[in-house]
Point group: C2
Chain length 459, copies 2
Amino acid sequence: MFDVSACFAGIVGEDHLVVGARIPQEYGHDEALTAPPIAPGYVARPATAQEVSDLLVAATRFDVPVTPRGSATGLSGAARPVAGGLVLSFERMKAVLEVDTENHVAVVQPGVTLAELDQEAGAVGLRYTVYPGELSATVGGNVGTNAGGMRAVKYGVTRHNVLGLEAVLASGEIIRTGGRISKVSTGYDLTQLIIGSEGSLAVVTEVIVKLYPRLVHGATVLAPFETVEGVLEVVPAIVASGLSPSIVEYIDDRTLDAISAFLELDLGIAEKVRASAAAFLMVALESRDKDRLDVDVEELAGLVVDRGALDAYVLQGSAARTLVEAREKSFWTAKAVGVDDIIDVVVPRSQMPALLRRTQALAETYHATVAGCGHAGDGNVHLGVFCPDDDQRRKLLSDVFALGLELGGALSGEHGVGQTRADHYLELEDPAKIALMRRIKAAFDPAGILNPGILPAAV
Amino acid sequence: MFDVSACFAGIVGEDHLVVGARIPQEYGHDEALTAPPIAPGYVARPATAQEVSDLLVAATRFDVPVTPRGSATGLSGAARPVAGGLVLSFERMKAVLEVDTENHVAVVQPGVTLAELDQEAGAVGLRYTVYPGELSATVGGNVGTNAGGMRAVKYGVTRHNVLGLEAVLASGEIIRTGGRISKVSTGYDLTQLIIGSEGSLAVVTEVIVKLYPRLVHGATVLAPFETVEGVLEVVPAIVASGLSPSIVEYIDDRTLDAISAFLELDLGIAEKVRASAAAFLMVALESRDKDRLDVDVEELAGLVVDRGALDAYVLQGSAARTLVEAREKSFWTAKAVGVDDIIDVVVPRSQMPALLRRTQALAETYHATVAGCGHAGDGNVHLGVFCPDDDQRRKLLSDVFALGLELGGALSGEHGVGQTRADHYLELEDPAKIALMRRIKAAFDPAGILNPGILPAAV
Ligand SMILES: Cc1cc2nc3c(=O)[nH]c(=O)nc-3n(C[C@H](O)[C@H](O)[C@H](O)COP(=O)(O)OP(=O)(O)OC[C@H]3O[C@@H](n4cnc5c(N)ncnc54)[C@H](O)[C@@H]3O)c2cc1C
Ligand SMILES: Cc1cc2nc3c(=O)[nH]c(=O)nc-3n(C[C@H](O)[C@H](O)[C@H](O)COP(=O)(O)OP(=O)(O)OC[C@H]3O[C@@H](n4cnc5c(N)ncnc54)[C@H](O)[C@@H]3O)c2cc1C
């Protein structure tokens, strides 16, 4: 009798297929806080695009849904498999195939982690600038979620840093899009369409990413403010200044307290200032030239103090790195203190104060607490929501997402819709667009085999 | 008896519909050199998205193909209508609706020209950085072709500078995509899919564009080289230098001669240098700070001379502007001297010398002459092709496009496929991708009413 797992094993080899109860629980979830593990039926670790192609053809034949998986650090449940489905894991496709110093690109396999790519690019003075807080994430996962991160304010998000793809369609066809070129006007931009599609349109098997020169001189300014709105009001002026900061983050005091305690950090902020500060702005500058950096840092410090900062601490070297790392750890800290959910609404920069003020008011109505930090330069706010009652929390989130849209934004700036926001997204998005996305999905994947747990196929 | 033109006139008003023989010839073509005028049946000038929607519904009902038209400065025949079809002209939808100085965006109607937008943004110290050589082009046309231009090396092309759209589907549904936000991860990126689709997926009725601060200090370095390859070999080093030039162009001597004669220009280059130079590099720097600019210009001049330039002239103010304007005029010059076609192959920056060398060899085989200039920082070469025999020229182009692809590039970096390159594109592109694009086209426009003269519907 013919057997599905024998067929999958025939493609990737016995050693690279795990079936049923032998599958470790980690393959059943990502880091989304509200998406408990599910048991997939199969985990395959392909080594080549051709193996991926064969797996997709087989999965279609046997009607087994397929979920591509990077490091599963995603925060929306987009890499959570379908029960009984096939997980494609890229643990064996993680090579940096080339760092091209002439054209400033790297050609990588999807399973390479950001830490690994940074190491290889750094060895020749270059950098992949997409910088989410978790460097064990993969480039394939970045493409899936259109990841952003701290440096997006200067360098853009994943879609601005990916120039081309090799991808496998549900039919098994292997296509190549884009190239080592930063512009092209021939046909529809399939690269951009696949980026951010959360594994629902095609499986990515190679990525051409843009690299930038590493600017060697850097400093970070940390500025406490009396109110959260105060921090956020100063952001448009910083972005407009032409100082071209590489990082513009804010952290509220509750979050900074929690991180400092969790990491046993001392940031050297005067006790008095700490006591009267409700939020902190963190801005990083970088330069090819030490003198220019110093002048720019002074201008920046002046700018924030003029606009209401209680002080401006200039951190260099390891102190600056510690601060950035602390910010990176905010998710783990929030998780450790038992946050119920984390959202990442994005609004026009100028609307951040309104978003935060009105979100606080909404939280009070639902007897919930919200606290957080965010990529302030991009209008992207990460809020931890403490509200254990599922029903109440669902309503609060629905109101906050609607508020984000009302202010001209979207319900996620970088984490994605995944499985955990599909119902909210469907509730808020124009039905004409949802219907159009479903037709696009069908144009790529008529049998609906690819990551069917997420929109637009889901629900 | 019911009449199509009465229906269209009922939507836009009698005054804004032109029919049949009354239609001026200019509505029948764009600037593509090999696409002679065609006679459309109707030209409608809608005033609102709702009128566009009504027109599309009516056109579908009567099976009249529709071609959106900006200023028809396009170079691929993408705005050339279908015989007897309906041209949608945006002459009445050309308002700058808002310049938002806090979020650094402008909200514009599609018919606004680049010159008009530049004026409004410039009034508050900002700039829309997409800068093709022809400032009578519209923002809607930029979206249609994914226009590039001289500043793309620093600021990216249209797709990097458009944050959101209002667009009308063939069904008449009016959708909004994106917003005044630079990142979003909710659903497929319809903004990016529509950009570069040459009016074949949706009609754009509003565009949200990114604006940047105008940097007030600028200078341009003009460097003659003994060979064209010499110029192109230095380009990767300039882009890699971190000097962040806003323009990196090259011009070959034949083209510079023609432009100088056409415009009666004197660029003040020493006679001896002029005589031994086969090509010129033109690099613009800009800065917030005059002193930094001066230092950077010196570094740049040193860099090009070290790498083989015969000299380096630093032009400021009006001399620099004259040079950039001369470069802008290269198309009109080539047209005036009777060029047979102009192509804009793009390759990885490092492959430009190989592209030019091998293209020259190909041209010789076909007894043709090629000369040109290009956006060297982007690997995008604009070549005038002198080869009056249609059949020979077709073969030459086919070989050059194949060469571009072989070197890792594409047949157009910014002009597009349109009507004039559809056959070449189809010949060279992967059939699996063409088939996929056709399915995407059908997902947007099942009746095939929108710009059916161009790919992927055409041929
Ligand atoms: C501490 C922490 C901090 C974070 N900070 C940020 C941040 O600042 N900014 C940000 O944007 N995100 C952030 N994230 C979220 C996460 O790191 C990113 O979403 C990242 O892009 C996910 O990469 P991954 O390899 O873990 O992908 P996964 O979670 O495994 O997958 C993500 C999506 O991509 C798809 N996918 C994966 N590989 C492929 C492939 N080869 N082909 C097709 N689809 C594929 C999956 O199906 C899924 O839909 C953070 C997460 C944590 C835990
Ligand atoms: C002298 C000269 C120099 C040039 N230099 C450059 C250059 O450096 N870089 C570059 O990229 N291009 C250049 N071009 C080409 C041209 O200027 C650009 O392609 C420009 O984007 C076309 O704008 P347009 O308004 O003229 O569009 P059109 O030619 O009218 O239309 C172009 C395409 O857009 C579609 N379109 C127009 N409006 C809409 C709408 N509202 N909704 C949907 N689709 C629409 C049309 O159907 C068509 O497919 C140059 C042209 C000339 C004549």
